[in-house]
Symmetry: C2
Subunit: 256 residues, 2 copies
């Protein structure tokens, strides 16, 4: 029979945040190809007899190169298997899903993409931080906190001018750099900002402060896990923060 | 017993894109408060004996004001009911969810937010358009295409400078305005752009062209439904477009 590959967005961590379609696609797969960012509890929805292929990929250690992952997917599909390629978050947001789909399409493999909750959404709900707000953030901008060669080259002043909630993925290692560039770009040092570590998981931690003091807070709290950084006045609305922290972060626009 | 309100993100339309937690929350609710953007098939997951309260809200006709909606939610919860407030997409992305949560919290009502797939993710997968891409879009920026008084006041040159995929919600009525401002702001007239109408639903339609000709295409095709606008080189990768359209939209960066 003809093989196929479905790219499944596994969401931010909490398996309850899988979509119905993702669960169904997991249950239909004969081969599961997954990486580090996928919560093990998500894979519990797979069939017991499904073969699992771990292809690694954390920021530090690339177990498989992207080319190798593509080769594995193509080979498994050509062998006639229904393959589920499971990715954390959404396959089309920093997941290199587009590259995998392009490689598979070039190889003539049937593909499907099942969207998933990207971390910004899961962490927003879990941390009580709205991503937009009529008075505080006219939109949301999602960016990567690391570039191909380490620190990202971004248009900091354009980002500062948007009046958007900025959501930074994979930015913890470069947090001091990001904070400094955004302030140089024009954001107030007092802009509320938070780090959500292991968002939506039982070990979730939230550290909130201002854009200027967040790097020191992250170091003091010893954050190391997968983390999302949120920058913007909406952070001060978080109902997950202690009252004292919220008061300190009162949105500038509401200050006298 | 104590009442409560859960804000549920119902996703972009296709009920298969509900999360497991959203389905569970729907099934637990005694009162369902919903608006126009929620697909009727989503509400099929509610209990049969749940009471449904329609609070309207399309762009044109506000059946209930936000203040009235807040009052309904507070009154139902104070009557001891478990209330599900169901919103299209994600409650914290242009859903005014933050305002409802704030009103409920002020009233002492227990609340919970269940995140949902915002339309950008659902439409990206359904239209075969990746939101980020290592070569074509370093991030994704989500904005509203209508302002409090009609046309939105945005920083067009900042948006143009981001090199992000721009995803515009509720922008169809202002499409000619948006296209002109983004071009004035610095985006190429030839930037690939698409409209996804009724994204993820059986009646989904995709119209793709360039940033400059998209308004005329939208008029010619008679688009009227809930629609998402995507602007950026990634649109040219859509596997939902006919080959000829894709060729015409070849990303500038790859052109000779």
């Amino acid at each position: 029979s003809e093989g196929s590959v479905v790219l499944i967005g596994a969401g931010p961590g909490d398996p309850d945040l899988l979509t119905l379609r993702a669960v169904r696609a997991l249950q239909e797969a004969e081969v599961i190809v997954h990486d580090k960012l996928v919560d093990p509890r998500v894979l519990d929805y797979a069939r017991r007899d499904a073969r699992r292929v771990y292809v690694g990929k954390s920021r530090a250690s690339h177990t498989c190169s992207q080319a190798q992952i593509n080769e594995i997917l193509i080979a498994e599909a050509r062998a006639g298997h229904r393959v589920a390629r499971v990715k954390g978050g959404d396959p089309y947001v920093f997941g290199r899903g587009a590259e995998e789909i392009a490689a598979l399409r070039d190889a003539g493999i049937r593909t499907e993409v099942v969207p998933g909750l990207t971390a910004a959404l899961g962490c927003g709900a879990a941390a009580g931080i709205p991503l937009t707000h009529r008075d505080l953030a006219s939109g949301v901008t999602i960016l990567s906190g690391h570039g191909l060669k380490g620190e990202p080259a971004l248009d900091w002043s354009a980002l500062a001018r948007l009046n958007h909630t900025l959501v930074i993925y994979m930015g913890l290692a470069n947090l001091a750099f990001l904070s400094a560039r955004l302030i140089e770009g024009g954001l107030s040092r007092a802009t509320p900002a938070a780090i959500i570590e292991n968002g939506t998981r039982p070990d979730q931690r939230i550290v909130a402060g201002t854009l200027s003091d967040l790097p020191a807070l992250a170091t003091a709290r010893g954050l190391t896990g997968p983390a999302l950084i949120m920058v913007g006045d909406v952070v001060a609305l978080s109902d997950a923060l202690p009252e004292a922290a919220r008061k300190r972060l009162v949105p500038l626009r509401f200050a006298s």
